[in-house]
Amino acid sequence: MQTNFLRKIIFDEKSRSLLIQTLVIGLFALFIYLIAQQTAYNLEKRGISSGFDFLNLSAGYDISIRLIPFTSEDTHFRAYFVGLLNTLMIAVCGCFLATIIGFLVGVIRLSSNWLFRNIAYVYVEFTRNVPVLLQIILYYSILLHLPKIKQAIEIFDGFFLTNRGFFSPSPIFKEGFSLVLWSFLIAIIASILIKKILKKKQEQTGQQYPIFLINSALIIFTPILVYYIMGRPLEFDAPVLKGFNFKGGMVIRPEFLGMLFGLSIYTAAFISETVRSGIIAVSKGQREASQALGLKNNLVMRLIVIPQALRVIIPPLTSQYLNLTKNSSLGIAIGYADLVHGFGGISLNQTGRAIEIMLMVMLTYLTISLTISLFMNIYNKSVQFKGNA
């Protein structure tokens, strides 16, 4: 009886797998239990308080780079949101810039000009083989050596470049400006409709219409027209050097720019490689066939090559976006107040709640990462299945 039982465990696949799994989960639970117990014991013994009540205490420090108002009297919880928004801001701007540079460099890498090709190659090899942290620090040092505030360079009227950031006039919206925005929105909707109608016509008659031209004109000129009709309801507040700093206007801080340049120049090198291999992956036959149909070069690119290349490009592009978002946590090296530096650094130090704060920070990044992959997967599916034979 007993030998039978043993025999069953060893040789029967199902019961063996059950046994292994029970063992694994048991060990895992034990591991978690031991760590939790030890941690509780250590916290208790060392007299360290724990819990999330600190989130409602006032933070006591100021954050200069922020998207929502924040003063030292606001809570740590609000500091968390300031940091989160700063992280998202640098991630979105970084992905945007990196994509533009990456596509540009990727196309140049396939240029028919040998010199251009190789300049792009040198750029790619040098940026992707040097740590992104080093690049961020390097670009930030360069920005710190721009002229000091008193010797600010005026690029255009009201635009100043200094080592405290890039100052520009800020727009002041007066009454009636919302109409301009509405007209812009309406123009976009109209252009989509026009595109549909003309496409249908083209399918029926075969005649091609300059859809792009018509629509661009519509989208650009409608708001401008409304703007002048409303009596130009927009003014600019130019920055003026007063005392220590510029007053008025808008400013982009060197900490933000350092992060932006570092992240996007680094990531663009990887993106350019995926773009290049994506375009190469579209077979030559496809290109020749479409040329044989009499399509112009730019149409071949737009209608044949890019849609097919996108299928290959999107999965690795997603992981580059993810990497960029995660690398945006390096703001701490140059004082950019992102989630890790502001909330995960300053708040952690003032409250001493290391476990709680690191847990919140990690879960936040995890959520961002999973959300990006989710959306990219959905988009990916929509690209993959369209027109798939």
């Binding site: 797998s17 292994i20 799994q21 694994v24 989960i25 895992f28 760590i35 030890q38 941690t39 250590n42 916290l43 360290i48 240029s111 028919s112 000009n113 040998w114 010199l115 251009f116 300049i119 090899e125 040098f126 992707r128 083989n129 040097v130 740590p131 992104v132 942290l133 080093l134 620090i137 390097l138 040092s141 995660k326 690398n327 946590s329 390096l330 701490i332 090296a333 890790v340 995960g344 290391a354 476990i355 690191m358 920070v361 990690m362 990044y365 995890l366 990462s369 999973l370």
Partner: protein, 370 residues
């Protein structure tokens, strides 16, 4: 007659190449001109700065440079380029950190043996490869003994390690320790057992979902809270734990890619021969899967090697950390570009080397398979 036509053919070949690649159309020609101007401007600027107008150990008056005020560019602003003296002055720190100077031979010894330890893994047609592989397995222990000390050697605490030593230690050891872990994770993720599988998936996706810096912080700040009183790994080992876990998740995904590429028939064939799961995995699946997975694995290694620079944020002095420390010293401050260019170059040499190797492997795999 024949020589003449050969020559003209040759000339034609170059001529055709130039026309095709540089002057095929007027747009192309314009691009060539722009590119030449760009290369000339950037090239001469950089060469002047880095070599022709630069100070190495002495300045333009022939004095030995002992602090930044001796740099030619600080004596005659605008006339001179880089001042590499800072690299000379801090060379030992860049290479060994604060390792005691009389014990530095031990680090050099470990550095010298590193190629011998790696070469066996890199090239599969090496003569006596078996012995090199044996050495690869002995090397980590030998290196650790040499660096840390023990019977016969004085102990040098890891808080004295720094510079390239820390960068290489974290990179090489992190990769070495992550490798077995990542195989287990990759096999676990493809396991038919739901609990094992989900545990592996959660671990891998969690690690890949958070930035390395948060893992380093956790290891640095929180590990001591998780462990009993007596167990207290030092800073470098804490960083190593974080780096290893991080690397294992990424490597596991690379290996999973290799596992997926093995046709199902292989497994069935092995099973029909009567091999059990472990035999099948060890003898049939893994050797093939790993071979396919090596290029992506090398790519994750490049990533990790660069990421070791993050440890400066938790207060370790890796190559970049030492560089920043040198810049913080008032005798050398403001020589940013010299320091950063030098460190970039070191990283570039290692990472570019690895990426070339991965390309070579990919090409070899393609020819092997076809």
């Amino acid at each position: 007659m024949t020589t003449f036509s050969n020559q003209s053919l040759m000339r034609n070949k170059y001529y055709n190449w130039i026309i095709k690649n540089l002057f095929s159309s007027w747009v192309n020609s314009l691009m060539t001109v722009v590119a030449i101007i760009f290369i000339y401007e950037v090239g001469t600027f950089f060469l002047n700065w880095a070599f022709f107008a630069a100070d190495f150990r002495t300045n333009f008056q022939g004095e030995l440079i002992t602090d930044r005020s001796f740099c030619s560019k600080n004596i005659m602003p605008g006339e001179y380029g880089a001042c590499w003296a800072i690299i000379y002055a801090r060379w030992d720190q860049f290479m060994y950190g604060f390792y005691p100077i009389e014990e530095v031979w031990r680090v050099n010894f470990v550095y010298a043996l590193l190629p011998l330890a790696i070469i066996g893994i890199l090239f599969d047609k090496l003569p006596f490869r078996k012995y090199f592989i044996y050495f690869t397995f002995i090397y980590p222990f030998l290196a650790y003994f040499m660096l840390y000390g023990g019977p016969g050697l004085s102990v040098v605490g890891t808080n004295k390690w720094g510079g390239l030593l820390v960068t290489l230690f974290l990179g090489v050891t992190g990769i070495g320790l992550a490798f077995p872990l990542s195989i287990i994770l990759a096999l676990g993720r493809r396991s038919k057992m739901p609990i094992v599988k989900s545990l592996c998936v959660v671990f891998i996706e969690f690690i890949r979902g958070v930035p390395l810096i948060t893992l380093l912080f956790t290891a640095n700040v929180m590990l001591p809270l998780f462990l009993p009183d007596g167990v207290n790994p030092d800073n470098l080992l804490r960083a190593l734990v974080a780096v290893t876990l991080f690397q294992s998740a990424y490597m596991a995904e690379a290996i999973r890619g290799g596992l997926q590429a093995i046709p199902r028939g292989q497994i069935e064939a092995a099973q029909s021969l009567g091999l059990n799961y472990w035999q099948t995995t060890r003898k049939i699946i893994l050797p093939q899967a790993l071979k396919i997975a090596i290029p992506p694995i090398v790519n994750t290694c490049i990533g990790l090697f660069k990421d070791t620079s993050l440890v400066l944020i938790i207060g370790l002095f890796d190559l970049l950390g030492i560089g920043r420390a040198a810049l913080a010293d008032m005798t050398w401050t403001k020589l940013y570009y010299e320091v950063y260019v030098f460190i970039s170059l070191v990283f570039f040499i290692f990472c570019f080397g690895m990426s070339r190797y991965s390309l070579y492997l990919e090409k070899k795999l393609k020819t092997d398979n076809s």
